[in-house]
Amino acid sequence: MSWIHPLAAEVREPVGVLGGKAHGLVVLRRLGLPVPPGFVIGTGACHAVLRDGRLPHGLDGELAAAVAGLEAATGRRLGGTERPLVVSVRSGGAVSMPGMMTTILNVGITAEAADALAAETGDRRFALDARQRLLSSFAAATAAPVPDDALGQLRLAVGTVLASWGSPRATTYRELHAIPHDLGTAVTVQAMAFGNRDQRSGTGVAFSRNPNTGEPVPFGEVLFGCQGDDVVSGRSRTRPLHDLAGRGPAVWAGLLEALRRVEARYRDACSLEFTFEAGELWLLQVRSGGLAGTAAVRVAADLADEGLIGRHQALLRVAPEQLRQLHILHIAETAEADVLARGLGASPGVASGRLAATADRAARLAADGPVILVRPETSPMDLHGLAAAAGVVTARGGPASHAAVVARAMGKPAVVGVAGLTVDAAGAAIRAGGRTVPEGARITIDGSTGAVVAGSPRLAPAAADPHLGRLLEWADEVSGDTSERSEAERLGAAQAELRRR
């Protein structure tokens, strides 16, 4: 095979060929962790499409052979009338372009395969729902009619994912982020793990350390009986990851072991996207690093203390810019603090401003001073409002929801998953705890504790961050400079010295 590579421990192709997602899956296989069987169409096929305007000769034959291999590995048949093979088809280039390209799940569920899936699971509704999801994701991504032969569906899905590299939106994204247009995407095809199969199934995201604080405790969220992107979208009510300990002890134990192994391998805080089907754990993606602010500082210092990295490496892990964004104030929760609601702290820091119930309103109100955007959930459609706001609150979603991720990236406080909060955009108000708060009213949020407070409460004095203190001591040792300077300057001087050596 020249275009297609198995997702197997012995694969040695670089990330430029496999794409970041599949490369991570190969690493997981090498670590002996559970990854759904599958294969990856390397970026070479995308290069051929970009060059010649069509799929390369030989790809079709390789695709059929790879499917046959997958059928043998799973004991299933694509489009089979008994135990049908169902696959996911995902994009993934060498550089992550979140949300810009297409993913198609449940490929292979023809009308006949849906019947077979219903018979196999004894759950007709599940099978029909899975087929419906396939048809809607095709409808959203391509105008082409969906073939009712399973291999035809797979070909269409591969072609659709490859074409999404060249969509105007993806092109714009690359222009803005200085990503070369000729890198191309790989296409990962894997046997589906159905998180929506039953109540012993589900999906989630697990962090090896708390991404808000850096605390060395597994953290994340899980959604029982759900499939795919429900967690990331923040559209559904998620549960804290630790709920798995009670509801799925084997899955929980497997996850803890996986988090331990990936941290040791990447020598950094990691996160895993996972699905479990009928009590069996499958890992779908691994990411390392990417923490900001307090969490980045604490993880760097802790990893050095744990001996996973050296102190010099720890110093190079934190960008001086991140120190300028450290938030250390908290709302003083005294008797006079008028707490409206509580959610999950998803991005630390305190922000105070006038309430806006839509992104557009936030963008407009921000001209007159700080704004807190309060939404049921956020999507890329709300980005301008998030950019304008000093802080964000969402009624739904967990720490991996869109609002949380974007807020952390921007270093803005965020509170997500606020139970009992309703946003009435038309009425320009929110309701929480039996009270109505109109747009324009001042509120204050604490992205560490999850408190949403009316007015401008008193803030507690900043406590010195012991992890930052430690890191900066190491920095001064390296630079040999103990004069009075800003934290960012102290770290920057040490990094300059380390890079000179």
Partner: protein
């Protein structure tokens, strides 16, 4: 699809009423600019509409002209009647579908204009990197060309939608000439006009937001 026959022209009173429907509370100058009318004419229409109880003027810093509940209902009815009378429902629906394809990209561009990533930290774009700003503006100009093509049939069918082309093109030109507020920040920015167009398409088709 090219629609035969002359474009439908909306009366000045409905132009002013509907501009307020798509803008929220705003000043006379902005209503006139959006409706494409001289200020005295727009003001005269506003006063007539106020007498009819359809619009109201609120004093104070955040005040301005806005719709009353009756005005909102009247606008919905009259805009729907206009759509039926002009026979342009299909062309508006097609334009809306094309708009929704372009909308996420416009929001990406506004995000990129306002924010930059440095050292793994996303911060406000301080507009000191002119090469970066030029990249964003080039992509915005490209999107604008695609938007013009996608909305050409709509502009050909209903005159009032031509105003968006003028305003979007104007905002882009001012941004390219160095007025940085005209991408996403000012009330006459590309984003602000784009948002009004979004609101207009929803209101015209009677789709709740």
């Amino acid at each position: 699809m090219t629609r035969p026959g002359p474009a439908h022209a909306t009366g000045s009173d409905l132009l002013v009423l509907h501009a307020l429907r798509c803008m929220g509370f705003t000043s006379l100058a902005r209503v006139a600019e959006a409706a494409g009318l001289p200020e005295p004419e727009a003001e005269s229409e506003l006063i007539d509409l106020a007498v009819a109880g359809l619009v109201t003027k609120v004093a104070g810093e955040f005040g301005g002209w806005g719709l009353t509940e009756a005005g909102r209902a009247a606008d919905a009815r009259r805009i729907a009647d206009e759509l039926d009378a002009a026979g342009t429902r299909t062309v508006v629906a097609a334009a809306f579908e094309a708009f929704l394809v372009l909308n996420p990209e416009l929001l990406d561009l506004c995000g990129a204009w306002q924010l930059r990533s440095a050292g793994g930290v996303v911060t406000a774009n301080d507009h000191t990197d002119s090469a970066y700003d030029a990249r964003v503006l080039d992509r915005l100009a490209d999107l604008d060309r695609r938007a013009e093509a996608a909305l050409a049939d709509l502009s050909a069918a209903m005159l009032r939608f031509r105003r968006y082309r003028v305003r979007l093109g104007g905002a882009l030109a001012r941004a390219r000439s160095g007025e940085l507020d005209f991408v996403a920040d000012s009330t006459a920015s590309y984003h602000a006009v784009w948002f009004q167009l979004h609101e207009d398409l929803l209101a015209t088709l009677g789709i709740p937001r």
